[in-house]
Symmetry: C2
Subunit: 345 residues, 2 copies
């Protein structure tokens, strides 16, 4: 198999680190691995197995001879450096929201729309974490029964907001008695004006507010789901909520199918027909997905599948996955793997 | 105003204690206050202001001369003793689920259906905490625009499962690093077989499982909402989820109105037209309800009101209230107040 020169931009971040781990764990054919970060982190070393890598500064020249460049250092870094990487001949796999909705940029979950990879013009976008697990869980359902409506309420972990948010949850959690007085500096959104405690609390805001009262996180889920499924008639509505959970996003999802004669057993079968999607659904044994037990796992877990009492084509379900794994690093590496298998066909 | 002899059954519990506090705070015309609990708690004393009360055992004879008996000690205690209280001439206001769905038993949220109080045959049921805040928030909407569909995903606090669940969350919260190994003995449901950690986790089960994959908590919300609104055509679907939050239930609610020409401003106006319902809704200043700041408050808070992108009659909103206050103790006392004002008319 062809060996690839790989760069990871944002190598010192949580997702960047996990991208490196997944490349090794999955035996991605890496020839040279180049770790890039900000000037501040340049010079620091990362040891993986027996090998120690020195982190270099991200510059326009850093992408020479690179075949695949993973970007996971924020939208502004992608905007600044991705064209240099493309010009140097690299395929950019971008984990930020910078180009996800840009016309002509493939937005890919390999289990759902691998064929879009072939349409790339140098950059493939990795979708938002909440979107990835939802479309993976619903891919089989949409293919087999048609999916025309989706209403999701999310239960999202703080790790999606970075290491500082995890640290803040840990610190605030110690102050159980006076929890309303906890100091907050990060959540709901580092870029917004006000901050609220997350420990023992629920924040109905992720990212800043956009149009019509929706947050950007909600708009991402709505727009990206339509783009990935390539179905702009599909009705998608999202409410995105942050919880005092370290890692693992959960989603309460209501769907309406094109067909109204589908049974719960048939829906469950369709859900788990997709690779990487695992059904955990047995009320008799209290079996259902929970984020604490999805931490560090590759799979998307689905449970609580039940029929709506009123709509014959309506179902409710519960989807959980590790937002840093399938929601970010793993999906990026899977895009690279699928790309590789396509160019070697 | 007529003075009432009042009994509180389950006086040592979280809701029982708060019923006593609310009776005093709201200057309910109490002549004699009798605190009842299990044999185990009998003899213990509760001091309120300058007055010390001795807790007595709940017996069939304990209700002599009682005008109003609040029951908040579990469904089995209501089933065992409520008839004795009724036979002794008391009006029973029951905070358990024992008789909520019984034909002929009024299920009352005073802002929504106070007229049902007049139909009582000795017992008035207080609805489930999650239901109360939702119907209060939607009462004005239903009256003004008609409400034919409702899909809710809840974010519920552990205090709804009692003091032991609060203690368990506090203990587990200390173990941040090895959170998946936390011992669990209470949640998701004391009466069920398996228990899972709640700290840094999300449990998509409240109460035990009933029919068709729904939990009893979900069926309560669905059935009680129809009964309180006296509208059995209304489509209601619920997914009930427990979170590591001490007190305060949150709800992500999608609704469809009978009319499709309603604006967000008109909906907001209708929501806050109901006494006790407060609109906290301004994205520009990141104003929305959160459970940490609803603790101990009487009101039902509503925010994140926005129009669905696809359905002209569809809206999304976010409802938060203290599950022990409006969700339990306060609503029970308000039922008693409304009853009193009705018999004095």
């Amino acid at each position: 198999m062809r060996q690839m020169n790989v760069a990871v931009v944002g190598a010192t971040g949580a997702v960047g680190t996990m991208i490196i781990e997944k490349l090794i764990e999955r035996k991605f054919p890496v020839n040279k691995l180049k770790l890039l970060a900000s000037k501040r982190s340049a010079g620091s070393t990362i040891t993986i197995g027996n090998e120690t890598y020195t982190v270099e500064e991200t510059t326009d020249q850093a992408f020479e001879n690179i075949d695949i460049a993973f970007f996971s250092a924020g939208g502004s870094i992608t905007e600044r450096f991705s064209q240099a990487a493309i010009d140097a001949g690299a395929l950019v796999i971008d984990n930020t929201s910078a180009f996800r909705m840009t016309e002509g940029v493939p937005l890919v979950v390999p289990e759902v729309n691998p064929e879009k990879i072939r349409e790339h013009k140098g950059l493939i976008a990795n979708p938002n974490c909440s979107t990835i697990q939802m479309v993976a869980a619903l891919k089989g359902v949409k293919d087999q029964f048609g999916l025309n409506r989706l209403i999701v309420s999310t239960y999202q972990a703080v790790s999606g907001a970075g290491a500082d948010a995890i640290h803040e949850l840990e610190q605030q959690s110690k102050n159980f008695a006076n929890r309303a007085e906890n100091e907050a500096n990060i959540l709901p959104s580092g870029g917004d004006k006000k901050h609220y405690p997350i420990a023992y609390n629920v924040l109905p805001q992720i990212d800043v507010f956009g149009d019509d009262g929706y947050t950007l996180e909600e708009l991402k889920m709505m727009n990206e789901t339509q783009k990935i499924f390539d179905d702009y008639e599909m009705e998608v509505a999202a409410t995105c909520v942050r919880l005092p959970v370290v890692t693992g996003h959960s989603e309460s999802v209501y769907i309406e199918l094109d067909r109204d004669d589908v049974t719960v057993a048939e829906l469950q079968e369709a859900i788990q027909s997709v690779p990487g999607v695992v059904l955990e659904d047995d009320p008799a044994t209290q079996t259902y997905p929970m984020p604490l037990f999805a931490e560090g796992k590759d799979e998307v877990f689905v449970g609580r599948v039940r029929k709506d009492r009123d709509k014959k084509n309506g179902f409710h379900l519960w989807i959980v996955s590790d937002n840093l794994v399938k929601g970010a690093a793993l999906n990026s590496v899977q895009i690279a793997e699928t790309y590789l298998s396509q160019i070697e066909e």
